[in-house]
Amino acid sequence: MSVAALGAMIVHLKKFRKYVLPALAATLLLWGASTISRVDLGAFLAGIPRGITLFGHMLPPQWEDFPGLIGPALETVQIAFVGTVLGAALAFLIGLLAAGNLSPHRAVRELARGALTAERALPDLIIILFFVAIVGLGAFPGVMAVAVCSIGMLGKLFADAFEEVDPKPLEAMAAVGATKAQIIRYAVLPQVFPSLIANTLYRFDVNIRMSIFLGVVGAGGIGFHLVMSMRLLQYREAMASILVILVLVVLCEKLSDAFRRRILGQEVLR
């Protein structure tokens, strides 16, 4: 082998060193994670025929169950709806306090922002279990959990939106003799309104999914029925629940889209 070729190979090796170490680490991690997670390709492949049989057992879905599932499905949507509205309202107030240009004091702003960050750091499961522990089972803890879980994300988005408004109309309002509340209503709100609505609707979609899960821990809704059916091996009932859930999710997305267009789309026409 010529000196040039050997030299080229060494250069190549050095360059690969940058990738070899991370690759080794990654392989180690993957192997470790697979062992801990009990990854078992064999079991997976063996399970596939079981899965297909399962699917066979699930069809046709238990149509008779449908009417009975509408109540729980409605409950799921109601919990998500009420929770989102409450959460958005609280996020609005906290967002005002957390916005540098609207907050009464810098300390208040830091405190509000800190609270929002803290809420975002807490995993939602902990918040849900916490509320169930306080008030017991049912829809109430579900609603509280949805509301509180929404505050962190919505509050931050709202506060950021408030801080980004054009300050000149606010000054004009102050010059006119308006109170702080009037300034917020007539100069801030019109500027942030589309962003507020869009973010709240997005959070509603997220909360629908959370709401479905609430049923699992006893906080109401159709999630409970699904899990129960599966545990009792009542697969056709479970399929009915699954279908209802899918319809629910798609319907809510379409509704929130329609609502967004109705409230915000008007602007373009005017």
Binding site: L29, L30, G32, A33, S34, I36, S37, R38, V39, D40, A43, F44, G47, R50, G51, L54, L74, E75, Q78, I79, F81, V82, V85, A121, L122, P123, D124, L125, I126, L129, F130, V132, A133, I134, V135, G138, A139, F140, V143, R209, I212, F213, V216, V217, G223, L226, V227, M230, A238, I242, I245, L246, V249, V250, E253, F259, R262, I263, Q266, R270
Partner: protein, 278 residues
């Protein structure tokens, strides 16, 4: 005299017009308020419930403190933490691989055919519509209880979002490097490898790291339904009213999340940093 009548009619119309355009918001707002009120009543929620809950809240706090660190001995909780981390890690990894492939197939500028593109897009949209709860319950039947099912559920659950973002990123690449390679006679594979991927891989990795954070929290939920991980331990402790245990477990979970997010942040900065240097 006619002028005055016309003027008056004009004035009234202006007031009406102002009202009418306000009314659209009023209608929507009123409708929402009605829906809200009806939902509250239907769910049985009232301010009274809230007030009654406050003493329970204080009682709970009293029972939670101080946290029972003994609950962490014996390794069960710590093993569950490892399970949760592994599930999230592997699930994101697997999901990223699948999203990578699906994303390329779903991107209009690099996909082999329009049919393939539509199929890939539909697959991802369907996945986004199906709640993760449904996915995990089905998987549990196939592979049994435990973190394996949870990992698979997280992998599948990541595909919809990651794949969509990746496909969009690919479609938004600067087309000029592609064209210059194409005119130089490169194959599709080579074009993808040398002009598309360098532009989109950094954001893909950043999104995957973000998805890891999401999956870590989702893994907690999966533990409750049997998908392995520390969510199960926490749920058990709360259900058995062992609140001091629950607080200890919560602290460990928070530490886990903090460390995982810091690591993801570090990796993200390293990846983006490398790109900047290049």
């Amino acid at each position: 005299m006619n002028d005055i009548v016309l003027l008056e009619a004009g004035r009234r119309k202006a007031g009406q017009r102002y009202r009418r355009y306000y009314e659209r918001y009023l209608w929507s707002g009123g409708f929402l308020a009605l829906l809200f009120g009806w939902s509250m009543v239907d769910l049985g929620i009232s301010a009274r419930l809230f007030i009654e809950g406050i003493p329970h809240f204080l009682v709970l706090l009293a029972e939670m403190f101080p946290p029972n660190w003994q609950a962490l001995t014996g390794g069960k909780v710590l093993w569950s933490i490892l399970e949760t981390l592994s599930m999230a890690f592997l699930g994101t990894f697997l999901g990223a691989i699948i999203s990578f492939v699906l994303g390329i197939l779903a991107a209009g500028n690099v996909t082999p055919s329009r049919a393939v593109r539509e199929a890939a897009r539909t697959l991802m949209a369907v996945e986004r519509a199906v709640p993760t709860l449904v996915i995990i319950l089905l998987l549990l039947v196939v592979v049994g209880l435990g973190p394996f099912g949870g990992m698979l559920a997280l992998a599948i659950g990541s595909v919809g979002m990651l794949g969509k973002l990746f496909a969009e990123a690919i479609e938004n690449v600067d087309p000029k490097p592609l064209e210059s390679l194409e005119s130089a006679g490169a194959t599709k594979m080579q074009i993808i490898r040398y002009s598309v991927l360098p532009q989109v891989v950094p954001s893909f990795i950043a999104n995957a790291l973000y998805q890891f954070d999401i999956n870590l929290r989702a893994a907690l939920f999966l533990g409750v339904v049997g998908g392995g991980g520390v969510g199960f331990n926490l749920h058990m402790a709360m259900s058995l009213f062992r609140y001091a245990d629950a607080l200890a477990i919560t602290v460990v979970i928070l530490v886990m999340i903090l460390l995982a997010e810091k690591t993801a942040d570090y990796l993200r900065r390293k990846i983006i940093g490398q790109e900047v240097l290049q």
